[in-house]
Symmetry: C2
Subunit: 309 residues, 2 copies
């Protein structure tokens, strides 16, 4: 058994408390020893106001998790990498593709582990779906990712600002699963974004992708869904239809449920982060984020009714 | 002297006739033997209606230049790479980053040369500017790329459609020079796009980039400039001010003109393409295109007066 990885966390907000702290608590490879946050402390560990103060005040730190908003993530990740610490990035890994590529290069040069995490990929049924599709001839893919923004982002104005990504904030989770389970690279051919007249970011997106074999791959992201929420991917193949539901935790083939799992996403992310550190590797798969950038670049924009909470 | 590279050209339109044919004529490493175009022939060489017909009908072809619109470039490049031909891509190399990355991977696997060309990088003074900046501490960068769209794209509706890139069609030339001459990677922090109320694509863009050292890098792209046209990059350094004008063909340091060159861009591109083929290498630098995608993703959009020709 290796010695524990001493880790610090920045940005002690909702995602840190709901997901990161419980996952770190249950993973014995990690020892949480410090936090950096302007307004919040974690009981029982050393607290700092800023990441820089934490890096200086806790020199025994091996790694940091960045749970701050994406707008400040580049500078924080740069500082941590330059200080020789392994870095865990929440999703999305930044606000531009260019800065994420630069971070990946810096991690390579410094020899630390950089992990750009995609939590939806760790949902209980995703790996089984990937394995099943590995040998399948795919005819058609349909993605429905429809939820109620008022439930999931109450009062969060930043999601509508430039750089906030709008409906791609949940949609990038679908893209992270699609890029993981589909055996061939795909790319956007046509896109339509619906943007409320009082917002900068889209509230809905219709995306038509294809691949080198001209497989039709359709995705429908919508933030206006009331009632039951839908996060599902249907893949029709020549040997049956795969249905991944509940954000990737339930898998059926031709209507037969094979997996209906618990929420194990952050446990899986920290297991992966430890594996990468132990192997001296990084994992920075920008493809989900690149598809989002492609959509903003290629899409037709339609102005729709204003959004009011 | 190696045997000539037998090349075919697809898309016999304005850019092919103005630039590619004269450059191929003057470069003795290439022998133009075929063309593929729906509506145009080139005197004295075999003409085909489609790329597929050319690949089949001219099996001795070593390479193809794709001068077709970016919307069809992926399928054409795929077909040429799969047929074992080296490929020259006009700029921009596609309509999405994802498809360009896929092409690069296919070229790697097949062992052919893929060259994503950026003609502005071959302007007469760009390499000297790059060398001069290599050792300079940069304080500030200012880019002015202002031209009259009515002069340069008369009646071309596609530049305003989704995927047409708008003012980034010339602006990507500035970005291709910036990514070549500036010694450090930079990335967007803030952007503002002005979009005519009857168009999908921007007519102007204000871009604020920075780098790991927090250097301010400002770019101003505008398609509404009448009178004298401006394509210039100013770089203030601790040992003087570099000014690159006329799209990269004129270089001054502190007001003294060092280079004021002819248009040598496509001659340089084909020299480079031959070098890459001879060395068995590819060159696919997506950074200029990635900055454009980042801008579309991160920008605030302002609706401005309708554009009418």
């Amino acid at each position: 058994m290796s010695s524990p990885i001493r880790i610090g966390i920045t940005g002690v907000g909702k995602i840190a408390r709901d997901q990161h702290l419980p996952a770190l608590e249950r993973n014995e490879r990690f020892e949480l020893i410090a936090s950096a946050s302007r307004n919040a402390n974690i009981n029982g560990i050393r607290s700092f106001d800023t990441l820089d103060a934490m890096l200086e005040g806790a020199p025994e730190l091996d790694a940091v998790s960045l749970c701050t908003p994406p707008q400040v993530r580049y500078r924080q990740a740069c500082a941590a990498i330059n200080a020789g610490r392994h870095v865990f990035l929440e999703k999305p890994p930044g606000v531009t593709l260019s800065e994420v590529e630069d971070l990946a290069e810096r991690a390579r040069q410094t020899g630390v582990t950089l992990f750009a995490s995609w939590h939806a990929r760790e949902a209980a049924a995703v790996e089984r779906a990937r394995e099943w599709l590995g040998s399948a001839a795919i005819r058609h893919v349909d993605v429905q990712w429809r939820e109620d923004v008022r439930t999931w982002h109450p009062g969060q104005q930043w999601v509508w600002q430039p750089g906030g990504l709008g409906v791609f904030d949940p949609g990038i989770n679908a893209l992270s699963i699609m890029t993981r389970i589909l055996p061939n690279e795909f790319f956007l051919e046509r896109a339509r974004l619906e943007v409320p007249e009082n917002c900068q970011a889209p509230i809905a997106a219709e995306l038509d992708f294809t691949d080198a074999g001209e497989t039709p791959i359709h995705a429908d992201f919508d933030w206006r869904q009331t009632g039951p929420q839908t996060w599902q991917i249907t893949v029709e193949t020549e040997r049956g239809t795969l249905l991944l539901e509940e954000g990737g935790s339930r898998l059926s083939i031709d209507g037969e449920i094979l997996i209906d799992g618990e929420d194990v996403e952050y446990a899986g992310l920290y297991r992966r982060f430890a594996e990468l550190i132990d192997a001296g590797q990084s994992e920075v798969d920008v493809r989900p984020f690149r598809h989002v950038a492609d959509a903003f670049m290629l899409a037709e924009r339609i102005v729709v009714a204003p959004f009011d909470e």
